[in-house]
Subunit: 454 residues, 2 copies
Amino acid sequence: MNEFTAVASDEAVAIARILANDHVADIVEALNREPRETATELLCEVTFERLVEIFDQPELDGASELMEALPRAKAGKLLTAMSVDRAADILRELDEPARSELLGGLAPPLRVTLLSILGYPEGSAASIMTTEFVSVPSDWTVGRTLDYIRKVERTRETVYAIYIVDPETHLLVRSTGLRRLITGEPDDSIMTVAPDRVPVTVSPLTDRETLAQTISKYDLLAVPVVDHGKILGIVTIDDIIDTMIEETTEDVHRFGGMEALDEPYMKMSFLAMIKKRGGWLCALFISEMLTANAMQSYEGELEKAIVLTLFIPLIMSSGGNSGSQATSLVIRALALREIGLRDWWRVALRELPTGLVLGAMLGVVGICRIALWQYMGFYDYGPHWPLIATTVGAALVGIVTFGSLSGSMLPFALKRIGFDPASASAPFVATLVDVTGLVIYFSVALVILRGTLL
Amino acid sequence: MNEFTAVASDEAVAIARILANDHVADIVEALNREPRETATELLCEVTFERLVEIFDQPELDGASELMEALPRAKAGKLLTAMSVDRAADILRELDEPARSELLGGLAPPLRVTLLSILGYPEGSAASIMTTEFVSVPSDWTVGRTLDYIRKVERTRETVYAIYIVDPETHLLVRSTGLRRLITGEPDDSIMTVAPDRVPVTVSPLTDRETLAQTISKYDLLAVPVVDHGKILGIVTIDDIIDTMIEETTEDVHRFGGMEALDEPYMKMSFLAMIKKRGGWLCALFISEMLTANAMQSYEGELEKAIVLTLFIPLIMSSGGNSGSQATSLVIRALALREIGLRDWWRVALRELPTGLVLGAMLGVVGICRIALWQYMGFYDYGPHWPLIATTVGAALVGIVTFGSLSGSMLPFALKRIGFDPASASAPFVATLVDVTGLVIYFSVALVILRGTLL
């Protein structure tokens, strides 16, 4: 791959050799590292067969732009030769009028198929399915099915999953695998090598997460997308893996408190980056302004006992941290279906004692810190230092408990009102907890220090 | 599944029927919902064949405890009948002396295989591989290979990936797929249906993340684990999916600022939960104590200009939020290999202007907020309010820039010293930024407010 980069601007012969010999996945990796113009030029050098392979890789960055740069006739031939699910992916990213122009140039059956896939919402099972699968009528024999598979093998995304449909109604009745098929007697019915069980299916609108869970739970190599009993297409396990990697990236970005990036970090334009991050950052900033309001309303107390301000960052961050822990736990447990919406009270009943114990731990550490500084003479908290230490300790118990509780309930709340629970980011929770944390701190201080400092 | 739960304490006949008819994945899901004692009782009711299927599911919670509750002889038979990789998984979780007892009862060849798999570090490719794969000498014909596969099909985890080895040296030379095999002529050499390319392999110590990336990049159904040219075993795509789900859970937990849970949230004992969360929480708390030290050293300034304290939570949280965004971006970009260690300066060069622009955005919002409150009479920041607003605005630029920079550099630093970059959690970054944030804030204040308020 390094040699590839080195010769990128070198003569065409050497490039063509590399493009012809390397594994297509390595070629795509090398192309992704080049600027778009170089990649476009390089793609003119490869054979048509290789071009199809390259565009069939979902890892190819900016495939739609590269497709648009090709002559229209070549692009049309390419879309026809590619796997249907990838062709739909690329068309989806394409801007008008290129999209309509390309679609218009395709043969009518393919155009209809692509248009129907493109009609489904992004991220749904039907939007990522391929229509190139093997299905046979249930009155065929094992031998006839094998002959058929040998003939169509090259044009199917997978031949390992075989779907058996009713010869009249075309409804899906069974599914089997090539491994079972080859163990059967050629003259027996195909039904003899199919497990006696209704196949696991998904509906066209099933979301990617459920799709991944279904494939993983039932250890499938592909899952059929079924509407009213008929197979529209299948989603294969390698598409699921790509999907899962994307999904994880989105989850981590969102948990970090920003909109998910849909392009690699280094390829994202500066403006797009500012947009994805600035929106959430401003929203959080404006919510966090409530802390200034809260502080203003306690100004009298602050003036009397300025020593209280010393611990504000410490106490507030502890609430945010415990909240962030609880949120990350609940987001994953919800995503893995370990818990459902109706389990919110179970979670609350766990987080309440957990928060109390964690808060007490931090409270003890905090009290020791103040006592140590006082005794060692590092700092003088005044004659009422034991009361101050008690205030800090008690506030920590309250704030960590509140942090754990609200951090764990936030994903439930988001899910309840129809949002993705994974939108509950660490900064979101911290902001939520900060304002309340201040109120808890000053309320505790008012109770404990009234008559002495306040 | 609900009916299953309902009859859990009902008569054995009904249970046995359900256990015999449902899809094994559904049975496992139902068993996971039962307390361990009920699950153990239920497992006594199923046929041995079903038992093997159930234990073969990696989704079965507490499989090692359930195995331990079985009579030793039955457990031994079960381990022999199960797939090798799952047997190794279960033995790994098992405590002594049960583990040695069970291993001792197995036939020597299986025992040797299991011991060698168990000898590899957890999470490595060899530790999750199975030795039940198809490999044939390169001098076999297509027909002979097919006959062989028909015979061994039942005992192999997959027969879709076929590995071709040198008949003398047993070194791996090629790999092919069953789909290619069935298109070949029975009398031709197996080499005629294998692509003319060295197979993609991994080494025994390859980590799970690289494994997932290799399988995903090359669109494989299985990848061979090769040592000195010989295949030790294979890792199949369905194990990879399970691994990826686990890995995502770990990443999200760690990004939330805690040790990753290795059990489902609701099944984790209270004490274990406190341990996993308390450690990091205390470590973060103790580091955050530096903020109290920083505040103490600015006490003189605080007393003179108490108005400055009002904005401390607001300003500090902005630094943490921008840092958390940058960290989540870099963690994912590193995990996806979009960037490597040597790209740190490229990232720094992107984050510097990004931080400046984002900081300026927040600075403008902050200045407007102070001006608005002053004009509308919501709060009186005193005669020097424009200077205070300027201090807040300038500090925000500095702190958000510092947050973005340090948040993006932290994963690099962790990776450089040999840690997983994903250990850089949102709370970790926030803590890192908080202390510096205070110093930046007060330094800016000293410059701008000297001679007026300070």
